[in-house]
């Protein structure tokens, strides 16, 4: 997997998270995984098509998602209701929007889907034949994982 595709998503995530959260944002050790990856409970998935295809998943525990959504709204949200989900979707839009601008500037041509939010328990995600790069991000409210699985179009 070419790192040029990945870095803009990671950088944009750090920029946006630092901007919207009054928080330290620390990068954990990144790792590659070719099989199924566990999903923490709230996953925002954004699809990529074009020269590069696959998906980016922003993944966190429910409590972390609620803490982020609460801070972004300036009010305490207790459940993953429509407002909380819309806020987490908006966070994903901000990050992917910034990443795509960067990637277009670098000459890569591709397009993004709107974010879909999937919640649940004991979740796993897999993309047959596509390796995933996972970048853990440590926030005060818990861990957020940026999980990127993309390939060059054949």
């Amino acid at each position: 997997m070419r790192v040029e595709y990945i870095n803009p998503f990671v950088e944009a995530a750090f920029n946006v998270l630092r901007e919207v959260l009054d928080d330290e944002v620390k990068r954990g050790e990144l790792y590659l995984k070719s099989t199924s990856q566990p999903v923490l409970g709230v996953a925002v998935i954004v699809g990529l098509t074009g020269d590069v295809e696959g998906r980016v998943l922003f993944d966190m525990k429910r409590d972390t998602a609620l803490a982020i959504a609460s801070e972004m709204n300036g009010e305490e949200l207790a459940t993953m209701d429509d407002l909380a989900k819309a806020t987490i979707s908006e966070l994903a839009n901000m990050i992917t929007g910034q990443a795509v601008t960067k990637l277009h500037d670098l000459g890569f041509k591709f397009d993004l889907t709107p974010p879909a939010i999937i919640t649940g328990e004991n979740m796993e995600v897999s993309n047959t034949g596509v390796e995933a790069l996972i970048v853990p991000v440590e926030l005060k409210s818990g861990k957020l994982e940026i999980n990127v699985a993309v390939r060059e179009r054949t």
Copy 2:
């Protein structure tokens, strides 16, 4: 939501399911939903970008996914292992490939992501601001839901 985008996915799903399964394939009552939708346990998500953007989700219980994957492989698969997931991904590829050919013939321009498979319990999916159309399909081995949430690009 314009039905022109949806019908090719539904038709392709019926064609492909009838072809790969030795089974009656019955269409249930379709319905629209604007909030979160429950996910049955095994979900294959394919993103769409272009004139139309969003995602198509093929959703079924684990037992149904295993029965389909077993029949497609000609051998009994007992767990959602890599082979079972690859088979369900291939089913999604067959369906979306056929649908896209049809949609391109109709003059719609868009692109698809490779399928991602998400498994888990008590799952829900939502797309902020995009209504979903759900088409239930009754198979001998259980229900499969085709859940399409797309919008015209703004």
